[in-house]
Symmetry: C2
Subunit: 366 residues, 2 copies
């Protein structure tokens, strides 16, 4: 017995039907020319979604956390400084991953539920001009907050400090412009707004980031997540064998991206904006309130405080067991009193909104 | 257009039909009780295949190389010594991964195509009693050689040196007894003899290895591959969120292991032994010769030197393009003059042997 699920949590979201169908195709070897052709097409499709011309654009064989670690491990040498924007769980995770790799972390913080001020990050860079990297989460999955990363790139481009953006929840959901915003490195994940199952982490590196990876004086601590080796494998001819990458996941991401591009990148952003606004306009009628204020609020991931008297854990469990609907619990200071509701990718529809609100109305009756 | 493939290389192999079918099931969240139940059952099934009672038995979210790095990164602290058995490509990879993590490597070598002498590894441990780890590949995928790891555990159990065994190609193909052989840590991969698609790396740690992971004085350099964090996620109640693990791959591995256990672990070893012997008895009739001698030769992965006059690259390309059959090229000193033929998991059948030999006969006519 396998339960049905309407996945409206912080991810995974329900994949596009095309992405599910692609899973059933015959498995290909990781050096098969047909597989490497798919990787090349995934690169093209990812470039369209990342809005970049970066040659080094590929799917890392792991989840979004693997993409994060691949970028931090590849772009930072031990002892180097990284300035990290922190206003939620995933900013904290960037610190942890960087510190495990031996980097020095300069923290730039804002309260959970509010946005980082880009001016604070730029000021920290001016105070630490030796910093190798500024790292920021564009869409904080823990709080539903959008951080404005657009102003950072043009200023950092004048310095030796690179810009790394976490786009795990952002990519394909809200505007993200890797080239126009002069982002040096960016990672995401297959299972949120891209509409594929989990297991792959799209990564793109611009010329300054590639030069950093190629010009290191120390080896990258991770072999599995070494973006230089991954470039030699996925993007070189002939490929240098690195690991047994999964054609199954690749075909599925390829198909999810195909569906996304058929709709259009800007059209997909518009759909997420419309569905998020609909959800966020209706939730208060049921007694919910928003964690983030309007300007900082993401459409694809809504963190919402529960109505007085509604017990978070039991209500969330009833949603799952009685209706097969998954939402996420709050994190940090919002644990036990908030939900995180994702309307992402294939699940970003009017149907998801009315289904969820209908079920919540039933819960509120009990 | 998606090509059909008879995967007879060093992996991936063709998954069991049950494992392909499982890919189509609805995606579940990584904290869904139903998903965590599947992880628990995968643990039970892996324990049956690893022949262990180890509680810490789980699928790492990556390929076999991720399993290797998870074990080395989690079991070694910077500056510690690891004794590595090296008689092929994957022994060399263990050195690379360990060195990137800051370990000191003591090399114990045998020529490619021959087996390591367990006495050499034990002698190296006596000469380096401070060594934290002895690491050996049970089935060298690069040369088709079986290394006898059974004598190592009982001796190392008397010391403070742990035993790590690479069972990427061994598990489910040839006898491997984690508990009876006193192996402290072992990793494998989903896509070879286990009969599932690539993307997951089964890992098991015994009590000494768990104590090592939990008693470290330095953090593990990798967050993604930290086996302590993975234990807290997959095997603790309530689970501590770590990453968005893929229910799709989990269900598929679950189904592949189910099929394997239905046949029986010893019966699967017997099948691999029978099919490998059949292939290896027929290849010489076509002018092929074996890289490894009889005692050291694996049944599930055969490295074979090509007949005089047969050009390796063009012949392998014709096999793929004209017949849809994938075999692997030789590595290292065998590059350009050998093939690596896998008869693993679902592909370990008489039909695979006659199909391959039939196609090769056609190639030899041309």
């Amino acid at each position: 017995m396998h339960g049905d699920r309407l996945l409206l949590g912080p991810g995974p979201s329900i994949p596009y039907p095309e992405a599910m169908e692609a899973l059933s195709r015959p498995v290909l070897g990781h050096l098969d020319p047909e597989y490497l052709g798919v990787i090349a097409e995934i690169g093209d499709r990812l470039r369209a979604v990342f809005r970049t011309a970066n040659a080094l654009t590929l799917p890392v064989s792991g989840t979004g956390s693997a993409g994060m670690e691949a970028c931090l491990a590849s772009l930072l040498e031990p002892g180097e400084t990284v300035i990290v924007g922190i206003n939620g769980y995933f900013g904290e995770r960037i610190c942890q991953v960087a510190q495990r790799g031996g980097a020095q972390v300069v923290r730039v913080e804002a309260p959970w539920g509010t946005a980082l001020d880009p001016a604070d990050l730029l000021a920290a860079q001016r105070a630490n001009p030796q910093a190798a990297l500024v790292a920021v989460v564009a869409a904080e999955t823990s709080t539903g907050v959008r951080n404005d990363v657009a102003p950072l790139g043009p200023e950092l481009a004048k310095t030796d400090t690179l810009l790394l953006v976490d786009a795990v929840t952002a990519l394909g959901g809200t505007r993200l412009e890797v080239d126009a915003w002069q982002i040096d490195a960016c990672y995401s994940a297959s299972q949120k707004c891209l509409g594929a199952p989990p297991g792959l982490a799209p990564v793109t590196l611009g010329p300054r980031a590639v030069a950093k990876v190629r010009g290191r004086s120390t080896p990258i601590h991770s072999f599995y997540l070494d973006l230089g080796l991954l470039q030699d494998f996925f993007l070189s001819s002939p490929p240098t064998y690195h690991h047994t990458a999964s054609s199954t996941l690749a075909y599925s991401l390829h198909a999810g991206l195909g569906r996304l591009l058929e709709e259009g990148v800007e059209e997909v952003w518009d759909r997420h904006a419309r569905i998020g606004a609909l959800l966020q306009s209706e939730l208060p009628e049921l007694g919910f309130s928003m964690v983030a204020d309007g300007a900082a609020r993401l459409p694809q991931l809504t963190a919402t405080l529960l109505p007085e008297g509604m017990e978070e854990g039991p209500a969330r469990k009833r949603l799952l067991t009685e209706y097969g609907i998954e939402v996420g619990g709050g994190l940090g200071e919002f644990a036990g009193r908030a939900w995180r509701i994702g309307m992402m990718g294939h699940a970003a529809t009017e149907l998801s909104v009315v289904t969820l609100l209908g079920a919540v109305r039933e819960l509120l009756k009990a």
